[in-house]
Symmetry: C2
Subunit: 206 residues, 2 copies
């Protein structure tokens, strides 16, 4: 049987070694050892407006390094259209419809900071990433993966606080991970179906 | 709604801060920066024989640092009874019945090495840990968590290459994680049931 990893590599076109090249060095440290680049990226992923220049202000930058709450508050104040939440495809928008944008941004950047060598902010607040488990309610298809990656590529393109080399590594990680989740989602749905059918057959009158 | 993290803390009796105290330092480095303590632990978890003294041989230890394959081969050669695979409870044994002991040992110590600050051996070979997703096929109940923890406590007790302080931190992590998986398993099963019921109801004649 083909493993999740094999499927992810085949479908994404990214070998595991390239996907996990993010672990060759410490991306969090190489980007300055602050949450800012990841906050920029996740904000750009969910929000179309370019807010990066604001954070280049040195006084704000100093605040941000010690006060993530302030940062979250400030992102709420910045006007701008939504990227993912206003996607032209309804089926894609619906994946995000149950979560508040501010929460989605925080969940994503805390995960990314943790995964790229920074402090384990996500696990301290929410536990293990459990990527497949947490994506279980959504229909993570090849098409959904491509649309997510399309937005992430655009978000990366507009994030000035991340250098070109890190962007390549991160995109390889994202591409491989997106298809890993397609494979994982398929696997858990197949398992559920077999349970479901047995259950339905044994209790037909209910 | 209570989060997975809240349920894990309530059921395990371990606060998130204590569970993730493993991240306060780098346990992999503090244990010598080699796979050996983790290989010892996972071998002790699945195998009852005390193999630790063998690895204290300096020549073997040097080999082990550079050759995990050799190590795996050597663990296969050591006679000893099985711990988890020969558990007195059939329902617990069955959780492991589909996996080869050598694979189970390698999966566990590669995950632990990666999670405790060492090289990302697990992800390079198998992808994201995806703890909830990978445990989806098994009925991870409170009772199963306690039995798993019982064996892990015994395995830790007999692993001389791990110091007392690290053992406390690791056991807190294991206890919290075991119940995090109980909560995650419950969550994905509930999601499956609701899908299952809708499916069954709409196609009663099948």
């Amino acid at each position: 049987m083909q493993s999740l990893q094999d499927k992810a590599s085949e479908w994404s076109g990214v070998a595991a070694a390239d996907a996990f090249a993010i672990d060759d060095g410490n991306i969090f440290e190489s980007l300055g050892g602050t949450p800012q680049p990841f906050v920029d990226l996740s904000t750009n992923f969910y929000t179309r407006s370019a807010i990066a220049p604001l954070f280049l202000d040195q006084r704000l930058s100093a605040l941000i390094r010690t006060d993530l709450d302030f940062l979250l508050t400030s992102t709420r104040l910045i006007p701008g259209s939504n990227r993912v939440y206003e996607d032209e495809e309804e089926w894609f928008r619906e994946i995000f419809s149950g979560s508040k944008k501010e929460d989605a941004i925080q969940n994503q950047y805390e995960f990314l900071i943790q995964r790229m060598g920074g402090p384990p902010l996500f696990s301290e607040r929410r536990g293990h990433p459990a990527l497949i488990g947490r994506h279980r309610p959504f229909l993570v298809t090849h098409r959904a993966a491509e649309r997510w990656l399309h937005h992430m590529q655009q978000a990366l393109d507009t994030t000035e606080s991340i250098d070109a080399d890190s962007k390549v590594k991160m995109m390889n990680f994202f591409r491989h991970t997106a298809y890993f989740l397609v494979a994982g989602n398929e696997m858990t749905r197949k398992q559920s179906q077999s349970v479901a059918c047995k259950h339905a057959t044994s209790k037909p009158a209910e």
